[in-house]
């Protein structure tokens, strides 16, 4: 690696917007105001399913001062009352029926926030209640049909070999059932937008979001406007984790409807309670495994049934299901694999994108299950996995041939060395006999695909632009958002590396649909690997234009580059180049059979958790955590490590802390005081290690890492808890109550 500042890839270049963030100067949407701006609130349903029979405006609220919007207003402007996404089944405002608690029905706007809050309570909505489905099990059992003909949003079948015939070749068949709960994204900045809408200029929205072009697409339908009459601008965004992937389309539409009606800018900022109760969460899941193995521990067949609870509307559930399905069989080779999956409807607020997007659910089940299979076959968890790790040239569940170098066994060796795994396994077993606090160590081995699944990236056809400025700087034009993960900084590094100029010379434009092309959504661990590659090719095209015009020689200095930009703009006007996604060669995907190259590249990982379980208080605590992963080239070590640490912390929350309590289809603990996320006092040392195996089609060799760290903690921690206590738990979140219930049985007879 060169020491030159113009080769920034692999260096921890400081966050581009870091100074603004540490001084409080960064402007989030609630920090922005416009003249005449007023506030909006949402009146929501109090029942999980019902027919709206009456809406009245009661109390001593001066209603004539208020702007009031209902579904009728959408009809009056000729708009479509649905949130355009996949199936278009979710209304912006419930019209005749409500399908979940907290569904939006009426919007109110007023200059005074306090009056507005009172007014919200004075809107009376009456319902004729309808029978509701509130659990995944009841939906699968069709206790009531609440969506379509069968409560099913989407199903997939992955079929490799012949599972039905394989059972006869097995020495042993092991079955298991596993569950994961909902999880709140809990970004510290709540959802919020400001909208300005009028008949002449159309609709403009500023907001906290991951995907400006998703909002753009949805508003075009809602207002029946041409593309150029809708403008969406991302403001500084205080965390997303998937929670600001699809939801901002709704709040943006609501603010814009109010603005259009009152003729003033309208700001809607949810408070924490509303954000938690009304917006999306991670899909709860149920996974059933039936696994056939030989007596020497080789996988013969994996039969997997994976079901996720999508909530009341389809939203992104089909794609969440897709990623979950493909990851459900993990980094192992089995000649026969069948994965049957479905996303089903319930009358609870729609579940949505959350870091990992279905994969953490399926991987939790698999990695717990394989410890169970190993035990049944008489092997250690690591030895069993070693006999089944996928090797270069072998095929995954979707029959994708792994062409890249993969060495899961090598990763496992290194992770065990870093943790002293074997020594601790032995020592804890001895010490636990005498100790009230039981210690354990466990691990998970897994992979995570980067970018959209299958043909997704081809359909998206993302575009990135590069624009030279007359000061000799280069501006990156992309809709990919900085949400804390480091988009601005790594784009600058990639462009700087490609051009051989300082990264300070690179600016990253604010995502604004009027000024940047659609580089696709900021999701799916795709921003670095897929969009970063387009940044690289867009700036290289810019350089080629300068060289081709004779203004720049091939071997140039930074000042020559700047001079060439200036001269080119003087002579020929604005200089912009664009690059459009092209699939790497040899990527083939069959959408009908769900077979082929599901992802262009995978990150491979081994996570090891050390835990203690107090047999008196039943508290489980993570004492040490090692996250080892192969992610291609690391663009920025500090940022990449920060991504992994943050994801692991979220994973620890998912496993031991974050319990959504449902009451009649509504989150009952929608406060930070009773929905508990890990605090600084709860986090163990998280030790992060990378192996670097450059990926030929990623920028500078990088793959994706954003979602990966969410996958490993839950199974690693529960495997460690089994090691500590001898009890196998099959669900997360695992709260002390559940540990108590199971542990008292096992420890019966031991004096506590």
């Amino acid at each position: 690696m060169s020491a030159s500042p113009n080769h920034p890839i692999g260096k921890s270049v400081p966050r581009k917007e870091g100074r603004k963030k540490v001084t409080g100067q960064a402007l989030y949407v609630d920090d922005i105001s416009f003249a005449e701006m007023i506030y909006g609130v949402t009146v929501r349903s109090s029942v999980p399913r019902g027919r709206i029979t009456n809406i009245s405006f009661a109390g001593d609220t001066p209603w004539d001062e208020f702007t009031i919007v209902t579904a009728k207003d959408i009809r009056d402007i000729g708009g479509e009352n649905y949130v355009a996404l996949i199936l278009n089944d979710q209304p912006y405002l419930a019209d005749e029926v409500v399908n979940h608690a907290e569904e939006a029905i009426v919007l109110l706007a007023h200059p005074n926030k306090y009056l507005l809050e009172e007014a919200r309570r004075n809107v009376r909505i009456e319902y004729e209640e309808l029978p509701a489905i509130l659990t995944l099990e009841d939906s699968v059992d069709k206790k009531e049909i609440i969506w379509g003909e069968d409560n099913v949003f989407k199903t997939f079948l992955v079929d490799k070999g012949n599972v039905d015939e394989a059972w006869t070749n097995a020495d042993l068949i092991v079955e298991g059932e596993y569950f994961t709960g909902a999880q709140e994204q809990l970004y510290i900045e709540n959802n919020g937008v400001i909208a300005i809408a009028n008949e002449h200029d159309g609709v403009t929205v500023w907001g906290s979001m991951q995907c400006p072009y998703y909002v753009h697409k949805a508003l075009i339908k809602l207002f029946a406007l041409p593309e150029d009459k809708v403008r969406v601008i991302q403001t500084e965004t205080g965390g997303g984790f998937g929670g600001k992937e699809e939801y901002p389309s709704i709040i943006a539409g609501h603010a814009a409807l109010l603005s259009l009606k009152c003729g003033k800018p309208v700001k809607i900022i949810y408070d924490r309670a509303e954000d938690m109760v009304a917006t999306t969460k991670r899909h709860p899941s149920r996974t059933r495994h039936k696994t056939a193995v030989t007596k020497d521990g080789k996988l013969v067949a994996m039969d997997i049934e994976f079901v996720i609870d999508g909530g009341a509307y389809c939203t992104l559930s089909p794609v969440v299901l897709s990623r979950g399905t493909i990851h459900a069989a993990g980094p192992y080779f089995s000649p026969n694999v069948r994965i049957r999956s479905s996303a089903v409807a319930t009358n609870i607020p729609p579940h949505g994108a959350f870091r990992g997007f279905g994969a953490p659910q399926g991987i939790f089940a698999l990695e717990r299950h394989l410890d169970k299979v190993a035990k049944a076959v008489g092997l250690t968890p690591d030895e069993f996995r070693r006999r089944n790790f996928i090797q270069q040239g072998e095929t995954t569940a979707t029959s994708q041939i792994i062409r890249e170098k993969v060495d899961m066994a090598g990763l496992l060796d290194r992770a065990f060395e870093l943790t002293g795994y074997h020594e601790k396994r032995q020592r804890f077993a001895k010490e636990n006999e005498q100790s009230r606090v039981k210690k354990g160590i466990g691990f998970a081995t897994f992979m995570h695909g980067a970018g959209f699944t299958g043909s997704g990236e081809v359909y998206l056809a993302s575009v990135v632009g590069a624009e030279a400025t007359s000061e000799g700087r280069v501006k990156i034009l992309a809709a990919s958002t900085e949400i804390g993960q480091g988009t601005n900084t790594i784009f600058a590094q990639i462009a700087s590396e490609a051009l051989g100029v300082d990264s300070d010379l690179i600016e990253v434009a604010q995502p604004d649909t009027a000024n940047v092309p659609n580089s696709g959504p900021t999701v799916a661990s795709r921003t670095c690997m897929v969009v970063g590659k387009l940044v690289e090719s867009a700036v290289l095209a810019l350089k080629q234009t300068l060289v081709g015009s004779g203004l720049l020689r091939e071997d140039y200095s930074q000042s020559e580059f700047q001079e060439a930009c200036r001269t080119h703009i003087e002579k020929f006007g604005p200089l912009k180049t664009f690059s459009t996604y092209q699939a790497p060669p040899n990527i083939h995907w069959n959408d009908e059979k769900y077979q082929g190259d599901a992802y262009g590249a995978y990150a491979w990982a081994v996570y090891v958790a050390e835990v203690s379980v107090d047999s008196l208080t039943y508290e489980a605590q993570v004492e040490d955590f090692v996250a080892l992963q192969e992610v291609g080239r690391v663009i920025n070590p500090v940022l990449a490590t920060g991504q992994i640490e943050g994801g692991v912390a979220q994973g620890i929350g998912f496993t031991l802390f974050e319990n959504v309590v449902w009451q009649n289809g509504r989150m009952a603990n929608n406060q930070m005081t009773n929905y508990i996320m890990p605090t600084p006092a709860d986090i163990p040392p998280i030790r992060v290690y990378f192996e670097e195996n450059p990926y030929a089609y990623g920028p500078g060799g990088a793959k994706g890492i954003g979602e990966l760290p969410m996958d490993g903690p839950a199974p690693a921690i529960l495997n460690a808890i089994e090691n500590a206590t001898g009890v196998s738990f099959d669900h997360v979140p695992l709260m002390p109550e559940a540990i108590m219930e199971n542990l008292t049985n096992v420890l019966h007879g031991i004096t506590l």
């Binding site: 409080g24 920090d31 510290i188 930070m672 600084p680």
Partner: protein, 154 residues
């Protein structure tokens, strides 16, 4: 009903004209346009709205403005002096202590407060010192590293 309420904000003496029960957080953000102080939860759990009142760190979402009559308030905007970042702020940039940045102002103030009380905190003291501030991005590790770095730089 509003009252006149003198106080000092970021070393500047001012007189506020406010409803006495208005939240200090709202007064700072809406009247004084000091939007660096953030609202995360509105119930004193997350620490995003941390400010100093007479040198003590508090959650400004829980403080009725009447309580700060004559008090000296310092917000994130008053931490850097003459464009020179505080050692904690610089350390957050260098060590990756800020990601999305929304908890950062509160977290920086909590770290400044900790180091003023305890210039060389142990790892456990850092964790306890920051326990009132929540961050969803970093998993806190880089924030702990930032505090350690700031100690070394001071």
């Amino acid at each position: 009903m509003t009252i006149e309420l003198p106080c000092v904000v970021n070393r500047e003496s001012i007189v506020l004209n406010v409803h006495p029960m208005a939240r200090l957080l709202d007064v700072l953000r809406e009247q004084l346009h000091l939007t660096g102080t953030k609202e995360g939860c509105g119930e004193g759990e997350c620490g995003a709205c941390s400010v100093f009142i007479n040198g003590k760190i508090v959650n400004s979402c829980l403080v009725p403005v009447a309580q700060v009559e004559g008090a000296e308030i310092k917000t994130i905007e008053g931490i850097a002096t003459d464009n020179q970042l505080h050692a904690v702020q610089q350390a957050f940039i260098d060590c990756g202590g800020a990601q999305c940045g929304i908890c950062t102002p509160g977290m920086v103030l909590a770290a400044v407060d900790l180091l003023e009380r305890n210039p060389n905190p142990t790892d456990a003291e850092i964790r306890t010192g920051l326990a009132g501030n929540l961050c969803r991005c970093t998993g806190y590790i880089k924030i702990f590293e930032s505090v350690v770095r700031a100690c070394q730089e001071r």
